[in-house]
Amino acid sequence: MNQSFFLDRASGWHALHPLTKLAVAFAILVTAFSVRWMFISVALFVLVIVPLALWGKIWREVLHTTFTIILPLALSLALVQGFFYPGARDVMWQAGPFALKREGLEFAFVTGTRLLVIAGAGLLVVYATHPADLALALVKAGAPFSLAYIAVAAIQLLPEMQGRAQSILNAQQARGLETEGSVVVRVRAFLPLIAPLVYGALENVQERALALDARAFRAPRAKTSWRELRDTPRQRVVRWLLVGVAVLLIFISLLSLFVFH
């Protein structure tokens, strides 16, 4: 059972400091959104994300997840935008009242490939970074400890929440609640599930909070860490460069928006 997204492999990409990986992802995202070239996202995906995924030995998972999530989205996007993009005039194909317009398809392509980049960049970080390391890095960078903890714990405990939702559904079904049939029936069946899920979550939260307090979670002292984060001066330089370039790109694209339109 996969308790988190982290895939423990020995690779150079894995060994990088979490903030470095985050900086790379950030730079990729900014580039995808600020460069005005239709194929920038595809280029980034093929020329940056895939090589990094190969380096990180996580290319199979990254490709598989990206395509299983993004492809259906992109296809439906293509259909919707293709047919209904407002103000489009260049018709590429027609069947009765339905006209497939070029501008719409272009828009769908750009958006779809951007989603691809978002998913790819995100997975590059998440698959190759131990959640505790990520939390630690965020804390070192100034994020509040409790926030970092919550982010990590939420991911780990998600399967339990899903399991509970199923148990709660079963509990009502076992009392005679009909859950199959018309939409009305299904919606009405949904209502009794909310309260136990919320209450159960709250009750659990109280017990968890107690247990955390017993482990000195809220102690106002400087915390140490079992794991060691390795950082190098070179990575620090690279991070600043990446962030600098990204900020520059944002600036330029904003400028072009205001100056050239």
Binding site: S167, I168, Q173, A174, R175, G176, T179, E180, E203
Partner: protein
Amino acid sequence: MDIQIRDLTHTYPTGVEALGGVSLDIAAGARVVLLGQNGAGKTTLVKHFNGLLKPTRGSVRIGDWDTREHSIAQLARRVGFVFQNPDDQLFKTSVEDEIAVGPTYLQIAPDEIQARVAYALDVCALNAVRAAHPYDLSPWQRRWVAIASVVAMRTPIVILDEPTTGQDAVGLARLARLLEEWRAQKVTVVVVTHDVDFAVEHFGDVCLMAGGKLLARGGAEVFAETAHVSRAALDLPQLMRLAQALGLARLPAHAEEFVDALAHENGS
């Protein structure tokens, strides 16, 4: 109403085979306990009775119904189920409303529902908290609310999954009395537990389970078979251990039997 299980196998989507060919007949009005460690397959087995799980192979019949041909909601008319975690079902703002939920789903007439709720409150000693919010109660009280909501459904078959967890002496005594009520009403009762002492004291029909299989079925004598008991990784009930240590011939199920066996040994 009886339960017939034939060659039941169940494999979870993860690939784990939780039940490996179990066959069992439970007569109408019988009172059976399924005994075994966690992971023995007891809960997996009973979840087939109300259709929460469907057989991978084999069949389960509740009376004249094959469970594969009926929805969970339909089977709920015949099988009442008290879950291990009572919190999973509680969603009403008062105990009496919560107890009324089952009968309401089953479309029982309103005044009949009222009568059933009153009876359930009584039998489960919840009258003092009838208007309380279930989540304001302690965990052991919430367990009784869950039991009460099944009592009110008046199904011919009742399943209780680990009802002894966290119960004190008063709670266990109340549970024993409820089992007697059901026996008088000829309700078929199946209890899942790992509490060997409770099981042997209140049930003459014990099914030992381990590793997804039924190891043995019978009265107190199932414990005489040490091979089965160790496979089930269970302790002998306290009095049986004592009887063995004292070299008594019989395996007593409760204190009275034990003292009888002693008296017999003494010849006094």
